[in-house]
Each structure stands twice: as structure tokens, then as C-alpha cells.
Symmetry: C2
């Protein structure tokens, strides 16, 4: 890892610091550290800050990141766009989100992102961005900065997202899969701060997961690691949109939950769902979540059955990867403790004691903010010279 | 990574080299490289070798590892022990193997290892070992150098294997799980030499796998990553020795194959197996392999059914991890191309195109030697100061 990267990320996460404090946190020869620091001060990336007060008879000066550094974090999902501008320490200086249908295509959606950023610039939140991080709801070639055959993003296949945004805003851009971005956020600022080997499971319109191995996002050979929605759970299950049978996503996703709910309403198993269906004309996963929270036995049963199916896949992954922590996030994480109890029960029963003996399974701490926080981390990693491509 | 480690491993794998060639292979400042090299020459780890002949008018001296360096590689499995002594470049200078029942306990088995090594010393193959690498057929705490609740090794639980051997032989010792060791061997000298993200599947008395991520063995939080034998394949399957139902190992292992073979002999489905059973009184996985190789349709059917079950687990792991290569090794890899064809068919059908588009699935190149080769690599990594603990 380069000294420059280590120095900038320590100042991002722990600054301002004195030179002595910096030296204490980094395992590099003091002479090289101070030389690098001088370079960064000269380049304007690091500035001398207020004095730290008298120390052993003389005053020691603190250094901190240039307060003018600005990153843009963009979190796109199927139906919304979130944009945040942060300073170099990832503190938000402006944020905005709105409804946005990803299916309207990249020209429209990225055009809207640029409009939002231009407005933030006009409001004085920045004059020039130092980097942009963006998460997309589909498979991404991280190296090339393009989505690859994303199922729910018609028109986006291999659209040059990185190069378009980089050209528009004159700064480097990192593009990643939304689940990887959420994993990065949770690891940097959420519940997984001290964890090395992490599985982050996003349960929403589909099911996917992100991995952090030895403290870095693991993307796999083709960048599609973590695509667990099409692992087979039931060989006699329903046909999935991918053409195979009994995939996890065919059994447990927003769409599948809505289907289960409508069937329970139709055959009168749940009065609550039947009344809702009569009133609204259709049901959603949200109705199941609300029904479960309100104590409706059928809704609770639907959530628990789904939890068992996700748990079955997770149990296999735990045996395989022996992670230090599993974090459950995404929209359907609102199903909360009913879901979590079921996941835990299956994983703790099915996986080996050695792998589960010290394995916390917890809900995301950042919730809906995981994506935008992670996108800011991604932008800063790029700007500070992350050692991983 | 330390310069010392990089320098020693480059000389291990590519030496002898001139100083200029070394500098060309390592991305470190030339001055630091030469200083480190001088240290190593002084310490006797590296020696000046024969001249490389005239180069630009003057003669350039080659350097190589001290030819007196010696590593011991120990490969223990359920029924045999293999011991090899190598030089610093991992070339065998002596090797020996014999039948040995792991169930006779650690004092007996490790005592025998020490006897074999003492005999090799008496024969003049070494005077002092620089490191020992040993692979055990069960879960191992790599950090502590002890087996942890190993199912087929009664009496070995938390036996201080590392400290016992280290005390006996006066050198550092690295202890690892046999599958990790085979993965290391295959990656260093076998079919996976150029591969970063590797899954090595051992099919033998049980089923397990090793992982190499970004070029390093991945062991997981508690050191039990890769324990895939107890992933559930069939919720209605037989009860496994672990207490759960339908585990991969309960369906496909040497024991399960023998059981299937005896049942096919009993009910007359296979004349070949029935005759063998009458002659021998019992059948083994080896009989199924031989029968399949001889074209017996029932034996081929047993292998293919097993291949589908292993394939189902691998398909999930491929979606999750998106590896660059899958290598099949272990005793039952002798089932060879029938097994491989079935594995490929399931994985290529069930996993996502992006993950399988460029995914070689191949048989181990080192075969039965993977364990001992990997144990030598393990020893050298320890001696040369591997950056990973």
C-alpha cells in the first residue's frame, strides 16, 4: 500500500492529527512519511490546521485534509436516485434524492444526475469535484466502469457510465455494483467497522451479496461475485426469470412476496391481506412487511418461509467462506427481526459449529443510507489512490 | 510484502539470477534491493553462484539460494504418511511414504514422522531443517498450529502438532488443513500456476475445498473456510454423520459410493459388481471407479449421480465467488472424465453466464503429489517470511 494512500485515508477517518500522531498510526519510516506529507501540503491536498496547543513546551501543528475537497456519491436503484456531495472526510455538505425509473435509460438517468450536481454546484456546495462514486443495481465491470447485461436496466448494457460522468464533471469516476457499494459503506461507517471477512446480503427487488475479504471488496474474476439470487433452493420450485428452476430469487424477492400475499388474500387465509387487496387492487412486499409487523399470522408465515430459503443459501456460504460477520440490508431488511430470527435459526443449525461459534448475524446499521455512504467511500478510495483496482 | 520475502521467493521459483535480472523482476528501488541482498548473502541464505558469462564487456555474477537450505514436507491422510525433504527451490532430495493409520493418534503418527526424518538425516540428506510444512486431514487452526475437532482423527483435537515438531527438529513449523496444502501445491507447481482466484475441490474420503484469493490461501475467520461437505444437497436425503440431513458428504464420498455399489450388487442391477461382491465380501469406491472405467453402465450411473450432487454445490459457489478456475483433485478424482463432464454440465447450466463464460474446470495436474508439493511450499513460505499469517 502506498504511503500517500495510507496517509490520506488516516486523515479522512481520524484527522486532524499532529505529525507525531500520524507517525504513530502508520508503520512507515518517519522520514518518508514527512517527505510524503510535504508533497501533499505542496499539492494542496493537505493543509496545516489550527494548533494543538502547547506540547512539551512547544506548539505542535495539526494537519488535515484540504477542506475544499469534494466527492459526489451517487446511489441509483430501480426506482430512485440519491446524490450526496461530501468533503474529504466524507461529511455530507449537500444531499438530495428523488424518484427516478432506471428503465428510462442511461442518457435520461445520468442526465438527471448531472442536473442535480450542477444545481448543487450553483448553490455553492463545490466548485470542482475531486471524484465521483456511483453504485448501479446490476452487474458491473469495475475495471471498465460499465454495467454488463444488467437484468433490470434495459438500455444500459455496456453504457460507458464512468467515461460519460468523467467527461461531464472533469474528475475520476468509480462505478460499482450497488451491493458492493453498500458493503463498502457498512464496513467504513456501519456495523462492520472492525470486521475483516464480511458478507453483506441485500434483500430487496432481488437478493445479492457483497464480500469484504481481508478488508477489501472481493469482486471475482469477471466482477460478478456475490450473485446469489440464482442459487437453486428448490429443485421442484417455480421457473425463474433466468430460465432455471427454483432459484432463490424466484422464491424470495419483492415480486415473490407480493405473489404469496395475493394468493393468501384470494383464498381467504388472511383477512387483513384480503381487505387490503380489495381496497388497493394489488399487494406489495411492503404490505407483507406491514402485516407481519402488525402481527398477522399469514404475513409472518410468508416472511419466515422466505427467511428459511435465504437461510439455506447463507448456510452454504458460511460453510464455504467462514466469514466474521453477516450483515442483512436492503429494502426488505425492514422485515427485520422476524426475518433475522429465521436466518439465524437455519444458519446456526446447518453450518458447522466452528464456523458459527462466533458469527454475528445483524441488520445493517446504515439502512437506506448504506448506498450513498458507500459511494462516497468509493470516490475517496479512488481519489486517494486505493491499491486495489 | 517485504523485499526479503519477494527476493527469496523469486530466487526459489526463478533462480539463479543476476542482480540485474532480480531488479527487473521486483518493483523495488534498486538500492534497497541490493542492500537486502547483501544482508541475505551475509546471513548465508543467498550465495554467489557461477558467472553468467560476459555481459556488456564485464562478467555478471549470478546469485542463488544457499544450496544447503532444507525443507521437510509432510502429507498426512487417513491411511498414509508421505515425507519429502527438498532444497530451497523445492526440488526433492529425498522422499518416502508408507501406510499409516491416522487413528493410531498423534504421538504414534508424529513419532513415525520424526523417525522417517531422522533416517533421512542419517542418510546425509540434511544436517538441519530450515522449516517443516505439514498438512492434516481435518480442520486446523493455522494460527495456533493445532487440529480443531477433526472428525476422522480421534485423539488429535488441539494436539500441539506445530510445537511438538518444532521442538523435535529445532525449526519453525507450519500446520494446515490438507486441502489448503493441496491448493497451495496446485497453485505453485500445478495447473493453476497463473490463476488468482482458485477453488480446489478435494474428492476423497470426504469432500472439501481450498480457496486461493488474490494469490493467497483464504482460510476464513476461524480457519475452517472450504468445509463444503456439509452443505445440504437434498432436504429428503440420508442422515449425515454430522447430525443434519442430506449433506453432500452423506450422498457422495468413498463410503457413500461403496454403499451404492453394494446395493446395486445386491439387487442384481450390475452383474460386474455382484461378482466382485461375491468374490471380495465388500465393495469400495475404487470398485465403482474401475467399473466405470470398464464401461459398466451402473457404475457410470453412480458416478454421474454423484457428479450432479457435487456440481449442484459447486454451481452455488461459482455464483457466489466467481472464481477464475476450478481444480478437481483427491483420490476420487480418478473417477476422472465421467465425473468432470457431469460437474461441468451442472455448473455451466446452473451458474450465471458471466461467471462461467471463461471458467476452466480441470483435473489436478499434481494428482497424489499435490499434498507433499504444497507442504513444501508452505514450509518455504514460512521460512522466507510470508506476509500472511
Amino acid at each position: 500500500m502506498s504511503i500517500r494512500y495510507e496517509l490520506l485515508t488516516v486523515l479522512r477517518d481520524h484527522g486532524p492529527l499532529s505529525r507525531a500522531q500520524l507517525a504513530g498510526r502508520l508503520e512507515v519510516p518517519r522520514r518518508r512519511l514527512l517527505a510524503e506529507l510535504d508533497h501533499l501540503v505542496e499539492a494542496g491536498k493537505v493543509v496545516e490546521a489550527e494548533s494543538a496547543g502547547p506540547r512539551r513546551g512547544r506548539r505542535s501543528t495539526l494537519v488535515k485534509l484540504d477542506p475544499g475537497l469534494r466527492f459526489a456519491a451517487v446511489d441509483l436503484d430501480a426506482r430512485s436516485v440519491g446524490v450526496e456531495v461530501t468533503d474529504g472526510c466524507l461529511r455530507a455538505v449537500a444531499s438530495y434524492s428523488e424518484h427516478c425509473d432506471i428503465r428510462t435509460g442511461p442518457v435520461n438517468v445520468l442526465g438527471r444526475v448531472t442536473q442535480i450536481l450542477e444545481k448543487m454546484r450553483a448553490q455553492g456546495h463545490f466548485t470542482q469535484l475531486d471524484a465521483i462514486g456511483i453504485g448501479l443495481p446490476g452487474p458491473v465491470s469495475f475495471r471498465e466502469g460499465v454495467p454488463v447485461s444488467p437484468p433490470i436496466m434495459p438500455g444500459w448494457d455496456r453504457h460507458p457510465v464512468r467515461d460519460v460522468l468523467s467527461g461531464e464533471h472533469g474528475c475520476p469516476v468509480a462505478v460499482d455494483n450497488d451491493v458492493n457499494v453498500m458493503t463498502l459503506g457498512e464496513q467504513h461507517s456501519g456495523v462492520a467497522r472492525t470486521v475483516d471477512n464480511l458478507i453483506f446480503v441485500k434483500i430487496g427487488s432481488g437478493v445479492g451479496c457483497g464480500m469484504q475479504i481481508a478488508g477489501r471488496i472481493y469482486r471475482g474474476a469477471a466482477g460478478c461475485a456475490g450473485d446469489i439470487g440464482h442459487i437453486q433452493v428448490d429443485a421442484d420450485g417455480p421457473v425463474c426469470s433466468c430460465g432455471n428452476v427454483g432459484c432463490l430469487e424466484a422464491l424470495f424477492s419483492q415480486e415473490a412476496l407480493a405473489r404469496h400475499a395475493e394468493s393468501a388474500a384470494d383464498d381467504g387465509r388472511s383477512l387483513l391481506l384480503a381487505e387490503l387487496l380489495a381496497a388497493k387492487g394489488c399487494l406489495t412486499a411492503r404490505d407483507v412487511a406491514d402485516g407481519a409487523a402488525a402481527g398477522d399470522a399469514v404475513c409472518i408465515g410468508i416472511v419466515r418461509a422466505g427467511g428459511r430459503q435465504v437461510g439455506q443459501v447463507l448456510a452454504g456460504l458460511v460453510s464455504f467462506m467462514n466469514p466474521s460477520m453477516i450483515v442483512i440490508g436492503g429494502d426488505l431488511a425492514d422485515l427485520g427481526h422476524i426475518l433475522l430470527a429465521e436466518l439465524r435459526s437455519v444458519v446456526y443449525q446447518r453450518s458447522l459449529p466452528l464456523a458459527t461459534g462466533d458469527l454475528p448475524m445483524v441488520l445493517s446499521e446504515l439502512g437506506a443510507r448504506a448506498g450513498v455512504v458507500g459511494a462516497a467511500v468509493l470516490a475517496s478510495e479512488l481519489a486517494y489512490g486505493s491499491p486495489v483496482s
